[in-house]
Amino acid sequence: MAKVHVTTSVNGEETEYLCEPHETLLDVLRNNLQLTGTKEGCGSGDCGACSVTVDGRLTCSCLVLAVEAEGREIGTIEGVGDKEKLSVIQQKFLEHAALQCGICTPGLIVSTQAMLKDNPTPTEEDVRYYLAGNLCRCTGYDKIVRAVMDAAETLPSERGA
């Protein structure tokens, strides 16, 4: 089977890779590009650990074929925050102890960033439903929801600065 050449953008950087037609974007991010921050929990779109954005839209990278990424813009956890400091969302997850084992954390942070872009002032119910596709088995979600709400409250003042 001939491999397919794909040119895409990952976290704003032009990226090329060769992939098999059956490989998912998750496979290629982790195995070809060594971007292992995106996690695989189920491989069927049920846990959200592999959450990424494709052209700005949140999706599970296990449900995207790697060949589809041609010409798209992919955003992963490695693109959140910058060299100097963590993003507000990342910081709030730490302050609120919104992680225990941390395996769901990259996916949750990518999802939270996508949510706050669309809805900067979510209610608790908004947060819980938006993030329902990001399973966490450790925390019972309480501290995650608090961290996200706090990040939402903090972000406008940061932006306004």
Binding site: R30, G37, I77, A97, C101, R128, G140, D142
Partner: protein, 750 residues
Amino acid sequence: MSEAQDYKYIGQRTIRPDGFDKVTGRASYGADLSLPGMIWGKTLRSPHAHARITRLDTSKAEAMPGVLAVAVHSDFAAVSDEAIQAGEGSANLIDLASNILAKNKVLYHGHAVAAVAAKTEALAEQALALIEVEYEVLPPVMTALAAMAADAPVLHDDMFTTGLEETPDKASNIANRVEFKIGDVEAGFAEADVIVEGTYKTPTCHQGYIEPHACTVRYDEDGQSMIWCCTQGHFDVRTSTAKLLGMELSKLKVVASEIGGGFGGKTTVYQEPVALILSKKSGRPVKMVMDRDEVQLATGPTSASHNWVKIGARKDGTITAMQGKFIYEAGAFKGSPVMMGCMTAFTPYEVPNLYAEGFDVVVNKPKVAAYRAPGAPQGEFAAEMAVNELAAKLGMDPIELRLKNAAKEGTQTIYGPKFKRVGLVECLEAARDSEHYKAALAENQGRGVASGFWFNVGGQSSVVINMNPDGTGTIVEGSPDIGGSRASMQMMAAEELGIPLEKLKPIVADTEMLAYSQGTGGSRTTFATGMAVIEAAQDVVRQLKERAAALWNVTAEQVDYADGVAYNTAGEDKMTCAEICSKADRTGGQITGRGNINARGAGPSFAVHICDLEVDPETGKTDVIRYTAIQDAGKAIHPSYVEGQLQGGAVQGIGWALNEEYVYSPEGKLENMGFLDYRIPVASDLPMIDTVVIEVPNAFHPFGVRGVGESGIIPPLAAVGTAAANAIGTHVTELPLSPPRVLKLVQEKG
């Protein structure tokens, strides 16, 4: 101890030291390591629940281009019939080997039969299809009661029930019988004015960690080998794997990756020894990562159970006797946690007459693994439901009934010791006095309360603190950090050393860098490994004093040390920890503190939960509308992570009570693999989980720590069960309370 101590770090909500890596995606988990030349291993699994393997031919798979090795059961070195420490209990080596690669019978749907290593994951998968297996399918035995029937098909024809007065000569699915008692229950029931009894059932549930089991291993030609894996106990992975493969411990390095949840389920080995066989045969590093279906099929779960409980009490609420018969499924091989069920079920109560009998029964399901307070939730569910029935029958408030009979200092436990100081009464009082308990309920809503008890354990922990010339240090521990324990180690060490938190970096060492440490489980890490950290820090302080004494030309006894500074009591001199470290080369070399302990004196942690539940009487759908978890932590080193343990335990328990269960076909095939149909709670299912952390210190720990990981999963089963019963106005005896079951309860009530 209980008077407020002035701590600098203990009790603060610090930022965890491993947090940065975890919010940036840099932390390396089980599946995140790749090695040069690495190939991929995959496992062939049984489609049958119970069958004899009549033919197994791997030759076509071995001949396939790209395939570099195949492993089957006979690749294990001749393993002896020996029990080894595995997980939170012991495991028999022959059983362990037969579980990770079936010997001559497959005993559950998904039982591993063979494994293949190939150049790519896809090739390995294709090769599995070339392995020829012929099965003689046998009738499956899917519940403990069916397995105990006189004419039941027998899983192991060499298993004879132990724990009976006479060992039988007929093979049985009942592996073992245990019994615990104090007093005379018959006499106790004779004294009773009121008696309740009932049979309570719980389903097979999975730990549900999000990270699948994964490892990358390398076996070198010189016999040195390495396993990188996600585990709660890498030293135990070393023990098990070395025994299975006939290796010396020093030849096998096990590195604990970051771990994406375990809850007891990552305390044993599945793929690691197989991957090492494949690596040895192929001469290449091998990576094996389970998919979600495999996790569900062949790892975990916890025991389904069938428990009968009887309680007698006087009219004033004094319980006179409690009795139970607990039947737990072990899965395919002996070793359910039924003994723990017997030891915990009645332990929140001070009752003179207790009797608990337990049966460990094999069935055609995966071999159970520890799951948070292993064995306790099932038995305590039965006991707590019955206690709530008793309260209703007596017309007493369920918390008042519990307070009247609560275990406390001096209470004789069914399993031997008398309690030292424990915090159950404080938890119950906090529940009774809470706003939640007083809040009104609306139509179709019900409230339930339940207690939970877990022993907590100590055990062996090894810790080294290496001080650097600039006064910073590395805390080297051997307990994989599953929920933030590095933060508490850092805080305890900083408190002892009197130096800023950020001067100390805690790491989890591999098995070559440190002496044996038991795994993370049983709520032991903050307690036992914490004690080892404190001991190591105290060892550093002792040496700091000696070094300062040497520099000042006084005796070590003449040096005081406080808040990171050494003082010469014979003069005016003082020196900081950093200054002493910087001169260590002049006083005998660098400073290392050691704390190798086998901790005793773990303090039990009691929990009390309150659940409000609403039932939709037309559909049977339930909604947890308010929840409070109260627990005695002894001392909360890091309050946020203590609360997190309470909340996480509560929500796992809620899942167990409401929607989680293994669904099998009549042929014994698992029908709900995957997170779509194995329904763990999602964010929108839940309210905030309120917590109350009680601190009744454990006198055996320098800071009073008890351990908080386990107890929180116990009360939800009966708190949710009772809330549902009260919302409907009926009795609940079986979990999960999935909508069809709840609707049936509503309809039967009419």
